[in-house]
Symmetry: D2
Subunit: 144 residues, 4 copies
Amino acid sequence: MKLKMDRAELNGFLQEAFPQVASDFEVEEVSEETLRVRMKITEKNLRPGGTVSGPAMFSLADVAIYLAVLARIGPVALAVTTNANIDFMRKPVAGEDLLAEARILKLGKSLAVGDVLIQSEGMEAPVARASLTYAIPPKREDSR
Amino acid sequence: MKLKMDRAELNGFLQEAFPQVASDFEVEEVSEETLRVRMKITEKNLRPGGTVSGPAMFSLADVAIYLAVLARIGPVALAVTTNANIDFMRKPVAGEDLLAEARILKLGKSLAVGDVLIQSEGMEAPVARASLTYAIPPKREDSR
Amino acid sequence: MKLKMDRAELNGFLQEAFPQVASDFEVEEVSEETLRVRMKITEKNLRPGGTVSGPAMFSLADVAIYLAVLARIGPVALAVTTNANIDFMRKPVAGEDLLAEARILKLGKSLAVGDVLIQSEGMEAPVARASLTYAIPPKREDSR
Amino acid sequence: MKLKMDRAELNGFLQEAFPQVASDFEVEEVSEETLRVRMKITEKNLRPGGTVSGPAMFSLADVAIYLAVLARIGPVALAVTTNANIDFMRKPVAGEDLLAEARILKLGKSLAVGDVLIQSEGMEAPVARASLTYAIPPKREDSR
């Protein structure tokens, strides 16, 4: 499927639509097959012991698949997450950024489904996997 | 199952173990059947339009079931979330606190499973439901 | 929400729409709060050791929530399962029927969400819990 | 990770351990990266309209990841499914076999996690995706 937004447009959209969290994330690559987002790890995302919190990993998974959907339907969507399933599999490496690779498995008229693998930078084994579903409203206007 | 921690002890544990987020949550009630946690909604948990963010609801579900497990096994656990599944069903009421009712469905030697319903204060229909699994380590020492 | 189908109508619907599996299931009770289905355990649902198979429990969860949706919207639906999440928590009691208690948490225009607890008859602790999402098509005609 | 069972051994294990369902499945390929299983579609797996039933797809996902785990730890496991999450994304092609590609994302001492994509033979877009968790008992003896 042809992309409607490139890397720079996706990063610009993040800044405009989610100014509170946009500085945490950066789209590094987007193609028809995959979208890679970096989550910059800072103090506020850490739990005691230097571990990234579950909610922080959840937000990374959500952002990555959401942007992969937008890359395909354009920035006009009001898509909302309806279901998320996440497996926390390993402890992230303390202090390292997280990298998420998302792919879209279904992009229907009313539902989109994607999944994502999350890794600590420099460690090959994934720390988490997630799959999320988004409801796409019939009329597409404005951003979420 | 008899409880090993009461409401005050659970709130005290939150303060000690998770000082960064403890002020967001307050255990309101704990019994053998259920545990109710209030999430105080402030600016930082809101998305544009006054909606509570998905990661914020995820963290509420996680805290509620985690504390319900601790209430039963004591504050010594190093339990970690291994799987979370969440359905976002309705838009939370703008500006209202969230209330989570958690119950423990399984408390085995190595795995605990619970589920939770999340409501906006003053609205009966639930905004989200979630079920989570925790791995309980063989040796229980220290807090997570 | 007022019910559009009672117990006898739901059992009749099962016979007509799913003749291959209808003899496995029986709706025992339906109300605005809950729907209880019995799964009669026979040889074909068993694994070695007398355990009910995972797919059999999945089908019970699916049938229970599906019928609870139909009880509310009528037998005309073409609803399809879009997501299922199931926790297998205990071994079912060998040879005993399974009982599923389903409740509907959301019944929107396009999506319905419900969850279910499954027990072995005579054992209180649940053997499984599941939550499922159904897509409800815009035009409701015919049975699934 | 080195494999302890090859394709023929996995198919042989299926015949011995699950004689009731073994004829439905055939391992077509196994490597350190992936395992592919074919599900032969017959009348008993079909719903009205020629669609494969949800429970049948669930059983395929379960078998595929279970065998991928066994290929790595050997046929001696008593692993049990503890959680399954499945997205049904498209209608399977009527009458066509299903093909499942499973990969193992985590193989720990007590938990294994894998995911799987299911396709109808001859159609590229996946009909379902699933992720499952297995508990691996401390002592590994006998088959499930």
